[in-house]
């Protein structure tokens, strides 16, 4: 946990640094029409920087041998569980771009159900057909929200 706290504080400091640099580039003082574009961001970055420093100092002063500090951010077996959810999700997002939402949703849902849940093939097929069909009807027909159809969109019959 101590390491994670320190890394997170450093990231916050980096964000504050980027904000600060950008605010200085834009000008943070008083311009012809009042405060310049960088006025608000520079103060935010300064406050964020101070908070980041305070979190960093607190984490550094934590006893590295104490139980709270040594407790890992996430243990290896648990990380596996988290990645088992996160990676298929990321893959699905890539697929949205390529084959469109509906096909990707069917594929993602089916693979996840079969692989994680060990559901029977009929259940897998039913879910991965019904969900895209239902979202299509509700979104495109009822609420008029078109979803991405990717490269195959041109070949679909509507």
């Amino acid at each position: 946990m101590r390491k994670a706290e320190i890394i997170c504080a450093l990231v916050l400091l980096a964000v504050a640094g980027i904000g600060m640099a950008e605010a200085i580039r834009l000008g943070s003082g008083w311009g012809p029409s009042g405060p310049r574009a960088g006025f608000f961001p520079i103060w935010l970055s300064a406050i964020l920087g101070l908070c980041g420093l305070s979190i960093l100092v607190k984490a550094m002063r934590m006893n590295p041998l104490a139980e709270a500090a040594r407790k890992p951010f996430v243990s290896k077996p648990l990380l596996k569980h988290v990645l088992a959810v996160f990676l298929p999700m990321a893959a699905a997002v890539v697929l949205f771009e390529v084959i469109g939402f509906y096909l990707a949703a069917a594929l993602y849902l089916g693979v996840f159900m079969r692989w994680m849940g060990r559901h029977s093939w009929p259940a897998v097929l039913a879910a991965s057909l019904l969900f895209p069909a239902a979202t299509f009807l509700i979104l495109e027909r009822w609420f008029l929200i078109p979803l991405p159809k990717g490269m195959v969109g041109n070949y679909l019959p509507y």
Binding site: E5, C8, G19, S45, L48, H81, F86, F96, G117
Partner: protein
């Protein structure tokens, strides 16, 4: 009785068949969202927000607020029957709700949450109906200095009442503000923090942020523990309702304290139903004659936490329609909806959008009646949702979240952002950074910056403007007090402890 006429006018709008249908649909979806753990009211409302884009504005607000009411009721079912909070605001409920259900009194435990919760909501709506026009009248006199002062007050409540680490709370808000300032500068029109990218020139959407931080983050967190829903079967009989009503009447103190405290905390910007339910539970325990019974199935514990949560949910919309400031994270998402529908949140709504405001207020009455009826009648139906296996529920929530994020700007870029926010939400939750300040800052960022810069233009750059105008000064002093509260509190507790020790000594002497 101008207000009463307005309310009747509102009922006229809210009772139109379409709005009534929308309200019922919203409440039903809300209860389902409430029942499903890992899908909270905030991300639920955000996911469903795109559905409102094609609705008239009044129906849109009725829909979103009805989801909120439904979720406030629905979270209770999962807590009491499954010992897993369906919503963050029903965590305090499971302390006593689950033990009571395990004793075989599941129906009674559920009724104890719903019936007092319903009456708490009702009292809060009456308070709302009364206070909203008054507060809006006051807010109409606000200039930029007052607006900025109220906004800083909103953020100070996070540090003062949020209970987390102050540095982490402020850092979270600053990240939200910085994200909000990405894009074209509101005054000069210059691109800021875009680093030459055209995709982010239009800025970051709060919808994607709230779905990702709350929804996806929660799912990643839930993945660490394999969720298994082993619950108690529960059905509410007429006898349960009767017993519960009697219990409520016998504990008027718990009910009234929960309601008033909940409403007040709800009105305080930024906090909302979750801290309200914890505080109310704590107070009920502290002042109970049998505090040892709390945690073993005390009816007062259920009443205290649920009444406060419901009252806070209603209260959270009060500053939203009167000042344009959300009282809770879920209200922040609804506020974002107002901007998308092309409305200017704040006191002018009462003048320019009478249909909208009074339709909303009337629909609060209707939505809560529907919510309590649905829950009392259909608990078994809703618990059946929890039998949906994890391997189906998780991808479904993720797919619905992606649709919600995509529909914001019709770009897949937002779905990528969703993934990123999900990771941030997961890390922040593990390291105990509060997420609500980030989302609220993202929604209110432009408004805050505009108010600040306009005030400074008015005053020629002097910060004194915030302290020389009486209303602004009042808010500013309260703000400073709340920011200092985390520092003062340990000090005050120490003083209090020695004081109490002296008293005990005196009592011993006497």
């Amino acid at each position: 009785m101008q207000g009463f006429g307005d309310l009747l006018y509102g009922f006229n709008i809210a009772l139109s068949p379409y709005n009534l249908f929308i309200a019922a649909f919203g409440v039903l979806l809300g209860v389902i969202i409430g029942v499903i753990p890992g899908l909270g009211g905030t991300s639920g409302v955000a996911i469903l927000l795109p559905l409102t884009f094609t609705m008239p504005t009044t129906s849109a607000i009725v829909f979103l607020s009805s989801i909120y009411w439904g979720a406030l009721y629905g979270g209770a079912i999962t807590s009491i029957l499954f010992n897993i909070p369906g919503e963050p605001w029903s965590v305090a409920l499971l302390f006593d709700g689950y033990p009571m259900a395990r004793e075989g009194k599941a129906g009674q435990a559920l009724a104890l949450a719903f019936i007092p919760g319903f009456f708490a909501a009702l009292v809060s709506i009456v308070l709302f109906t009364f206070f909203a026009p008054l507060l809006a009248g006051l807010a109409l006199k606000f200039g930029p200095a007052e607006t900025f002062a109220v906004l800083t007050l909103a953020f100070s409540t996070f540090t003062g009442l949020g209970g987390g680490s102050p540095a982490k709370t402020i850092a979270s808000a600053c990240v939200g503000f910085l994200l909000a300032s990405v894009g074209l500068d509101i005054v000069t029109g210059r691109p800021r923090l875009t680093f030459g990218s055209i995709t982010i020139l239009s800025g970051f959407s709060f919808i994607t942020a709230s779905i990702g931080l709350f929804g996806i983050g929660e799912i990643l967190l839930a993945a660490e523990e394999t969720l298994e829903f082993k619950g108690i079967q529960g059905k509410i009989g007429v006898k349960d309702m009767w017993v519960t009503t009697k219990t409520m009447m016998r504990n008027p103190g718990t009910f009234i304290t929960g309601t008033i405290l909940g409403f007040w905390i709800g009105v305080m910007p930024g906090t909302g139903a979750t801290p309200a339910s914890f505080m109310s539970y704590g107070i009920a325990k502290q002042y109970s004659k049998h505090p040892e019974k709390f945690g073993t199935g005390a009816p007062q514990g259920i009443i205290a936490s649920q009444t406060a949560a419901q009252a806070a949910g209603i209260g959270a919309l009060l500053p939203l329609v009167t000042l344009g400031i959300p009282g809770s994270p879920t209200a922040a998402v609804i506020l974002g909806g107002l901007y998308i529908w092309g409305l200017q949140p704040g006191p002018t709504l009462f003048i320019e959008q009478r249909d909208f405001v009074w339709g909303l207020i009337a629909s609060m009455y209707i939505g809560n009646v529907m919510g309590v009826l649905f829950c009392l009648a259909m608990v078994p139906v809703f618990t059946a949702i929890l039998k949906t296996p994890y391997a189906i529920l998780t991808p479904l929530i993720i797919l619905l979240s992606s649709i919600g994020a995509y529909a914001v700007n019709n770009t897949t870029f937002d779905v990528w952002l969703l993934l990123m926010y999900g990771v941030i939400g997961y890390v922040f939750k593990k390291l105990k950074y509060p997420l609500a300040p980030l989302v609220v800052a993202l929604v209110l960022g432009d408004m805050t910056e505009e108010a600040l810069r306009q005030s400074l233009i008015l005053s020629g750059g002097s910060l004194a403007i915030f302290f020389t105008r009486p209303i602004a000064a009042g808010f500013m002093i309260l703000t400073i007090f709340l920011f200092l509260l985390p520092a003062i509190r340990p000090l005050a507790q120490r003083v209090g402890r020695t004081f109490r020790a002296e008293e005990a000594e005196k009592a011993g002497e006497g």
